[in-house]
Amino acid sequence: MTTEVSLTRALDVFSRLERVLGEVIVGQKDVTRRTLIALLCRGNVLLEGVPGLGKTLLVRTLSHALDLPFSRIQFTPDLMPTDIIGTNIIRETGGDRRFEFSRGPLFANIVLADEINRATPKTQSALLEAMEERTITVGGTTYALAEPFIVLATQNPLEMEGTYPLPEAQLDRFMLKITVEYPSLGDLVRITTLNTEAAGIVFPSPVATGQDILDARSVVRDLPIAEGLREYVARLVLATHPGSAQAPTMVRDFVQYGASPRAAIAMILAAKAHAFLSGEVHVRPSDIEAVFLPALSHRIILNFKGEAEGASATTILRDVWQKVPVL
């Protein structure tokens, strides 16, 4: 049960974490916060943005700030599943040969899956078990991953040639999809200043441990959310389904499949984490609004008409948000 001490400590840890991330990742406050939300909720993050916006830098900075094992996997078309999860190899010790599991880069606390859409679906699917169950099964043996575990994948929305779009099952396992936008003029100037000075980018010293993250997760889960808001989240998710009575016209016209129950869970947890990071001890409607798009935008599958007319999931979800009232 959360106490005054644990609450204060958790808040302190994450405020420091947010601050140090903001010192390196300039002009991406929302991205930083949403990444921390996923970290607090035991979720995974899909970072989408054109190259050069600091996606990889964000993950590296986070790993430095958390003092946790970090591994980076550059996804390419010839990348094999064993390359990321590991494989059994024959080891000979004193004339005795036996299979020994050689752990892949997934065995880390923070995993950066860079340009995940460049790998084949087979390799992408190798992440599924790790991302959801936090385990890896090789040769009939299941290995547990260390907590906290988080996969931060990046993908480039522009270069689609030679890429393999993530399957829906894979997408659904990402708690949040964070779109990294271009920084503003002032932020861009600051970025250039930071990266062109003599010292260059100085990664932060660790400000939190793995245990701090786990403690903060416990505090976040204790945060109450009103039953009315929980029902509100459910109505929002149901409204993304074209067959639902609450679905707006745009959803009925352009959506083939709506968000899953996992999306509702992700929204509530993310709203709790957002409230926590805002210093609140309960979930507010504004917290739900803050995580509505990141939690649902990658879970809406457009139909042919939607694709043909260039409808985007974000536009449709904004319409859903306007059409579904809190009360």
């Binding site: 959360t2 106490t3 945060l223 109450p224 009315g228 808001l229 979930v283 507010r284 504004s286």
Partner: protein, 469 residues
């Protein structure tokens, strides 16, 4: 300082009341719409709306509203929704509903205390989330008053119709609709304390303006309806009544006529003066017809002037006199002159003009006019009841038929049979005639009229009582 449970309890009570009031309002509005539609349908069909319909609807609407109010209070909505609504209204960012969540499902006490502190800090006057409008008591009072009026007014308007069955007495006549008394007619009370209507005669500065809603039947039409009934009534009049009416009076007239004819023949033949026995017989016959006539005959006989006696007898035997004789009684008291009007002796009857403001019946026949004048002394007695006492077959026709309630023609209503009396001129606008509807019943009782005729008369007085401005 309230606890969270107290806050929730108060909010639930207020919410129940508000929703109950809303429901009650809807039910009342539905009842009003139903009443409107009902009235519209009846108006379109051309049927009058039954008098009991509106009070019934009003009572039913009120009861249904009360039931809806109670049911809505009892059927409380989920607390989570109520508190979330309060959160939204007060800008509490779901604090109250989160508190409820923590109270019901458990949670860190730290969060609970902090949230409740925030609630009290942000919205110290949390009751305003569910405000019971200040106008609600007034609206409720207006609703009740309106319903009470809807109940009372039709009942009041029903009163005369109801009183037809139970009889009109002084107490019942006091319940005449105030609207009828206020609109141009001033209220007064007769000697019995019964209210009477003051009607200003034609030419009075006080106009009788409103004719809306009055029956468009003319007075002559009403009288024409009355005549056959009255004729049959006179034929079937009950012997032994106080007034000399019907067949009895016809017999008495015939006997008097016979006595006078024989006496006249003897006087014209140069005979002697009538003996005391003959005079006694003529006087008895005249007395059977009319006490005044008996006095006239006795005075003529006492004069011992043969010419005068002959002249008197010829006058009495003349057709106009024979018609006027009964009319003397009929008009004697139907319209009572004001008490200050000088009484006239029986000797001056033939030449006396009708009293000022006399009813139109007086102008209808020149022959009867003089005779009416002879009747006025007795009619002018202040304590005498202004009921039309004599024969019922003498209702004089109206000279100028007027629509009931027509402005300026109210004097035409003061015809034979109308229980009216001249009121003291308090306004200075001229002579005023008071109509005493409460005496209609006693009039009808005294007349022992057949049911049909009584009904027509009663209906006539009811109309002019309710709708006379």
């Amino acid at each position: 300082m309230h606890s969270f449970r107290e806050v929730v309890a108060v909010l639930e009570r207020r919410d129940g009341r508000l929703r109950g009031m809303v429901w009650a309002g809807w039910v009342l509005a539905a009842a009003a719409c139903l009443a409107f539609v009902l009235a519209l349908v009846f108006a379109l069909l051309g049927h009058p709306l039954p008098a009991w319909a509106m009070p019934l609807l009003a009572a039913a609407g009120l009861v249904a509203a009360a039931v809806a109010f109670v049911l809505r209070i009892r059927a409380r909505r989920p607390r989570c929704r109520l508190l979330l609504e309060v959160d939204v209204r007060l800008g509490l960012d779901a604090r109250l509903s989160s508190l409820l969540e923590m109270e019901e499902r458990g949670g860190p006490k730290l969060f609970f205390e902090r949230l409740f502190r925030d609630v009290v800090r942000i919205a110290p006057d949390w009751k305003r989330a569910l405000p019971i409008p200040r106008c609600v008591p007034f609206l409720a009072a207006a609703t009740l008053l309106g319903t009470a009026l809807a109940l009372a007014l039709p009942l009041l308007s029903l009163h005369p119709a109801r009183s037809r069955d139970v009889g009109l007495g002084p107490s019942s006549s006091a319940a005449i609709a105030p609207a009828a008394l206020d609109s141009g007619a001033s209220e007064a009370r007769d000697a019995d304390g019964a209210p009477v209507l003051n009607l200003t005669v034609a030419g009075s500065p006080v106009p009788a303006t409103s004719t809306a809603g009055l029956s468009q039947r003319t007075l002559s039409e009403i009288l024409s309806e009355l005549r056959p009934a009255l004729a049959s009534s006179s034929a079937a009049s009950v012997p032994g009544s106080d007034a000399v009416t019907g067949l009895e009076r016809e017999d008495a007239d015939a006997a008097l006529h016979q006595e006078l004819e024989s006496l006249q023949k003897r006087l014209e033949a140069g005979g002697q003066a009538p003996s005391a026995h003959e005079i006694q017989r003529v006087r008895d016959a005249a007395a059977a017809t009319s006490p005044d006539l008996a006095k006239t005959v006795e005075a003529a006989a006492a004069a011992s002037d043969m010419d005068a006696l002959r002249q008197t007898i010829s006058q009495l035997l003349s057709p106009s006199a024979s018609q006027a004789a009964p009319t003397t009684h009929s008009t004697r008291s139907d319209v009572r002159s004001s008490s200050d009007e000088p009484s006239k002796s029986a000797d001056a009857t033939t030449d006396s003009p009708p009293p000022s403001g006399a009813p139109a019946a007086g102008a209808s026949s020149g022959a009867s006019t003089g005779t009416k004048g002879s009747a006025s002394p007795s009619a002018a007695m202040p304590n005498e009841t202004p009921i039309f006492e004599s024969g019922v077959g003498e209702v004089a026709p109206v000279a100028a038929p007027l629509v009931v309630g027509e402005s300026g023609g109210l004097s035409s209503y003061i015809t034979s049979g109308v229980p009216a009396e001249r009121a003291p001129d308090s306004t200075g606008h001229g002579p005023t005639w008071r109509l005493a509807p409460g005496q209609v019943q006693s009039l009808l009782s005294a007349r022992d009229l057949p049911a049909g005729a009584a009904e027509i008369i009663r209906d006539y007085f009811q109309r002019i009582t309710e709708e006379t401005p």
